[in-house]
Symmetry: C2
Subunit: 443 residues, 2 copies
């Protein structure tokens, strides 16, 4: 709609990295198009709270158009990028449209990886999208409903067994929240089952949960999980997942575990746009499909293409890989924005340096572990820090206030008000003769 | 699990009527089973706020098990009743199970009626369930996205035309909220379209909107709607609905209106359980499928079966039909509970009398109409009353607080933070060459 030569920046992905790039270019003489398949930015670190009925999707998501309403050099486009015409400097959409760029920022993130077992996906949902979270919520709540209706003890026990595959931060958070639901939230809700008898299994292949954390914090996390009724099995691999249970293997052999609810938190793979950049721009990929980038986050031979966030593979000066966490993506977004600005001014910028602000993981109510430089925290203090940092990062002010109220309410009442079963299958999948089954009258 | 002769009360439906019956039997010597297909009570009067991105589903729903956690004579069962064995006094579930009763309360409510045009349902969703509301939200938000991407002016105009069929309270609320979204919420969100150019049509067959209200309040409502940019067409019937528009007919003839978003608020029909009671217990039905009940809300010839709420057809002493509104259902629930209690004590109860507390309808931000006995209110004062009464009725305390904050926030900022497009189809269904379409740089 206007003459070039305004510098056109196209950003693929409205996650932490893409959002931060666009924001950091607020006062730059560029025209930005932010492309995402979703019309909202999702605060993914709290997605497990939606899955476990603590928060509503609207409380951890902010409409992208609302975020950039006042930043007039940003246009938001709701579309899916499927290809990049590197020579012609255009991105191509699934609907056939194309969009030209002068600089391209690829911040398309990662998705769940089932390590070649794609058939497990339908049985064991992961936790990447709002829809995933609502599906997990539906399955967990329906499992308790099915157990309440089940007559056969073995069937009831399988409905009351929850397996979380993967002991990283997401798996630990999910298992901790499930422990809380079973032991506190649902207490008194049922008449025929005792939710505290639920078995919650957290299965991790490595020798300890939270492998990237210092060993003493892993141990603290395991203690806190056991306190919430979670059975932690480390050094154990899941070798099969079926609708009626999982097969696990450890040093002592294999075992069948009947379980009707299996949740996946075992690994991620990079967005398919990594493969696109490999094919179109000769990018090198690592084993997880991430794009190996230059020290300035650009592609080798293509200074006009940047890859940031979970899709990027970058080693720090000390040889350690920059982790796939929100603070890293945001730092990379700010760096890319600054480099674009400098280039337009004919200047240069030293290589990107990741500043590790530490690691935090929460384990249910009022328990967390934190590793910040030489500092190690666990328990209530770490949880308050986790709460504070996450509230600070939430994009919209209104959401912060609502979440704080929800959390305060949940904390004092152990209530989870959003435990709604919604979607397609809303009835428990069991039957039974109920004629003689009635509650007792009040005495 | 225990010996009869404890009196067994089975309640079908966890809406306003069923909930109130169970609560009013709290201290009665009965064993209650409350059956619902959903695991939550839905505060339906605010469902339009979910559809128009003002509230999250979790904020207007309360888990049934949570409501009755401490009322130990109530058991909640998540199941669908498909038949009643009247002679054997058992209800039959879709999963093959059965449940015996001594007294049966049928409070199964109503659903949308398309007056024989069931093919319209997929094109023009109604507003009865949480899923309906999220579907309407998805369609409305995607329509603006599609308009932003559309190149052909006629296509863009069809995407920016919203038709609400039916000028009762739900239609008026939906149209008012759409007017607010177009004129205020989305202002500044788009770069190529001006959302205030959206056409919002409210089509009503009668000569005025809100036909059950006094004529002067109908007029006030129409004025408030026009103020919000809604085009009100009364005395107009929708004769066809297609994916690309509607056909309307009034006294001057027929007209084709291109529109990609059509919402249905034109009528309801009773639950299919009305037909079951007709077949099994000889119940008489009215034209909308409602069960014509005795003055004590029981079925003729079946004093052990009560029908209450939207499924019941009952004329007041003055010959007027008791309306299908929440206060009427709640009064009937309390009456049925009291009658059960009296019968168990060997006593009787005079016939049910409906106490009309008045009517209220809201029209977007800070505007409403109220008719309370001889009192007529409109504008801000009526809106505050509407707000107050609705907050009072919301079941859970936490929800009240959250909704009040959301409303205060929406009121002062005109923001609607929950405008998330979720579900299956999340991308706008249009394409276009975008190469020359870039935002302007900041000046």
């Amino acid at each position: 709609m206007q003459d070039s030569p305004t510098h056109r920046v196209v950003i693929i992905g409205g996650g932490f990295g893409g959002l931060e790039t666009a924001r950091a270019l607020k006062h730059a003489p560029v025209a930005i198009t932010l492309i995402d398949r979703r019309n909202f930015h999702l605060f993914q670190p709290l997605l497990y709270q939606v899955a476990t009925a603590g928060l509503s999707p609207g409380e951890i998501a902010a409409p992208l158009r609302g975020i950039f309403r006042r930043q007039k050099n940003v246009e938001v486009t709701l579309a899916e990028v499927i290809d990049v015409d590197v020579a012609g400097r255009r991105v191509l959409f699934s609907d056939g449209a194309a969009l030209a760029y002068d600089t391209l920022i690829v911040a398309a993130g990662a998705r769940d990886s089932y390590f070649g077992h794609d058939d497990w996906q339908a049985i064991a949902p992961g936790l990447k999208t709002v829809e995933d979270a609502l599906e997990i919520r539906r399955r967990v709540l329906l499992a308790f409903e099915a157990a309440e209706r089940a007559i056969d003890p073995a069937a009831r026990s399988a409905w009351l067994t929850f397996v979380v595959v993967g002991g990283g931060p997401t798996g630990v958070e999910l298992a901790g929240a499930l422990g809380e639901i079973a032991h506190h939230t649902l207490r008194g809700d049922f008449r025929r089952i005792d939710p505290t008898e639920a078995t919650i299994l957290l299965i991790e292949g490595a020798e300890r949960v939270l492998p990237p954390f210092p060993p003493d914090l892993s141990e603290q996390a395991a203690v806190a999980l056991r306190h919430l009724g979670v059975t932690v099995r480390t050094g154990t691999k899941v070798t099969d997942i079926r609708g009626d249970g999982v097969t696990v293997a450890d040093s002592k052999g294999t075992e069948q575990i009947p379980a009707r609810t299996v949740l996946w938190a075992a690994g991620v793979q990079a967005s398919p746009l990594g493969r696109v950049l490999e094919a179109r721009a000769g990018a090198a990929l690592d084993r997880a499909g991430r794009v190996i980038v230059e020290p300035d986050l650009s592609l080798a031979g293509h200074p006009e293409i940047f890859v940031i966030g979970d899709l990027a593979h970058l080693s720090s000066a000390d040889g350690k890989l920059v982790p796939g966490v929100a603070p890293a993506a945001m730092q990379q977004g700010r760096y890319a924005a600054e480099l674009i600005r400098r280039r337009l001014a004919g200047e240069s910028l030293p290589a990107f340096r990741y500043q590790d602000k530490g690691s935090l993981a929460t384990i249910g109510r009022a328990a967390a572990v934190a590793s910040i430089g030489p500092l190690r925290l666990h328990g209530f203090l770490a949880w308050v820090m986790w709460l504070f940092i996450h509230l600070l990062y939430i994009v919209e002010f209104e959401s912060r206030l609502l979440i704080l109220i929800q959390w305060a309410w949940n904390y004092f009442t152990r209530n989870r008000g959003t435990r709604l079963i919604t979607g397609k299958d809303i009835l428990p999948p069991v039957a039974g003769e109920m004629s003689e089954r009635h509650p007792s009258p009040n005495s």
